[in-house]
Symmetry: C2
Subunit: 260 residues, 2 copies
């Protein structure tokens, strides 16, 4: 017999929409049946599963607790406009970042990305292009924000996210790996001309301000996605996650032998 969701648990779960409470409880929420299935298959540790009692969900496990609730209860804990009827409450993983593990790998970093949708999309890009680690500056959006988790379409299960002091990290990255660090700048070299190695770090800047001076100081190469030439005026910039996608694709498009 599956228990009804208690008031106390409901309160805890809805508090997880706020970063402070996620950090205190080391928990976050993913919504939808697909997220639940993917999480079960992953190494992530599920704490609770809550589902709408109008659903038949043959879920039970010794590893986590399962509760049901009704439409009203679901609305209280869901972060989506139309609650999909299944919430998975997951433990925030504790990744250890060893810079030496980034040797021979392609790594993406973001300098103060603010929009949760962009961060979620970037996780999908990393996942698609085999970028195992996403390095975020401390002031970047929180990856366990429900909007990031939903936008990532499960990519948060496969890409490791690390929050670091970004200038300090890049300094150490260069020392320890000897690999080249790239950043996108308006005055950079055309990415189509650049010879991009398979093992490197590339940094994307904030939506409005680009890459900060503190970070750019440590970058070896400035790259740029050139606009197609035509007489009229064009947009000042591409959306930052579009830029991330194009750059990741450029790094991966030439199947050079990997330096393992």
């Amino acid at each position: 017999m599956i228990e009804k969701l208690s008031k106390a648990k409901s309160k805890l779960i809805s508090s997880l929409s706020v970063k402070k409470h996620r950090s205190e409880n080391r928990l976050f929420v993913a919504e939808g049946i697909k997220m639940l299935q993917e999480t079960i298959e992953s190494n992530f540790k599920i704490k609770y599963v809550v589902y709408n009692d109008d659903k038949e969900l043959p879920i039970s496990s010794d590893d986590y607790e399962v509760f049901t609730t009704d439409d009203v209860g679901m609305k209280k804990i869901s972060n989506l406009k139309s609650a999909p009827g299944v919430l998975t409450i997951i433990e925030i993983p504790d990744y250890e970042l060893e810079i030496s593990d980034l040797k021979s790998k392609l790594t993406m970093a973001v300098d103060d990305i603010q929009d949760p949708g962009n961060l979620g999309t970037m996780l999908r890009i990393c996942d698609w292009f085999g970028i195992e680690n996403l390095i975020c500056s401390k002031n970047s959006a929180d990856v366990y924000n429900p909007k990031v988790i939903q936008a990532s379409m499960g990519a948060f299960l496969r890409v490791k996210i690390h929050y670091v002091d970004l200038p300090e990290f890049i300094k150490n990255y260069k020392l320890e790996t000897g690999q080249i660090t790239y950043g996108t700048f308006l005055e950079g070299e055309s990415i189509y001309q650049a010879k991009l190695p398979q093992a490197a770090l590339f940094v994307l800047g904030n939506e409005g301000n680009g890459i900060s001076d503190e970070v750019s100081e440590f970058l070896d190469e400035k790259i740029f996605i050139p606009p197609y030439q035509r007489p009229e005026q064009h947009s000042e910039s591409l959306n930052i996650s579009i830029a991330a996608g194009i750059i990741a694709s450029e790094f991966r498009r030439n199947p050079l032998p990997n330096l393992q």
Copy 2:
């Protein structure tokens, strides 16, 4: 002396958040001072400008009417969480689509794109990569939806959007231009291997269902952005606007001579 915004005009402007009213009045709304400036410099016809009376905005013109309102009035007509204080009400342009104009050009088409943010981002991609025309199937999101307009960052002023019967359009496009039509499919050829001409049409599908059978029937070439190979599972797909960005970049990355 600038007039206060009347109740009737306020009602008209806030009704423009709904497609039906935009179509009836042939008007749409763009928010923010930058949008106003860019619209003034464009060929678009401004009908009204409304700004918050706590701002000093030295705007006057014989071409359009200017009104002021207060915070409460602004909130009523703004579509944004925090109203930027300036709204431009613009006439919907009447583009004529001559397929012969698409000869020697790169053109993007979308088959039932639903998310306004995706459509706005695609407009920015077209703008950046010199794609002058974006062809939308009739069931795609409305480009004059305020969310599309804001996400486009002014790109709607430079990229022409046409709503068409997409299968019919592609049939005629092939007949009239003789150019190749491309679509993204999971079973397609790697885009990194494909030889992409500067003059062509490429189609992107719906967020969930991809390209419809009715459309794919008329496409010459199936292309695909390959994921980077690694043992673990990866995401099922890239976000559709990320795919659009990567494909546009691939078409433009080799500066071949244009077939004029």
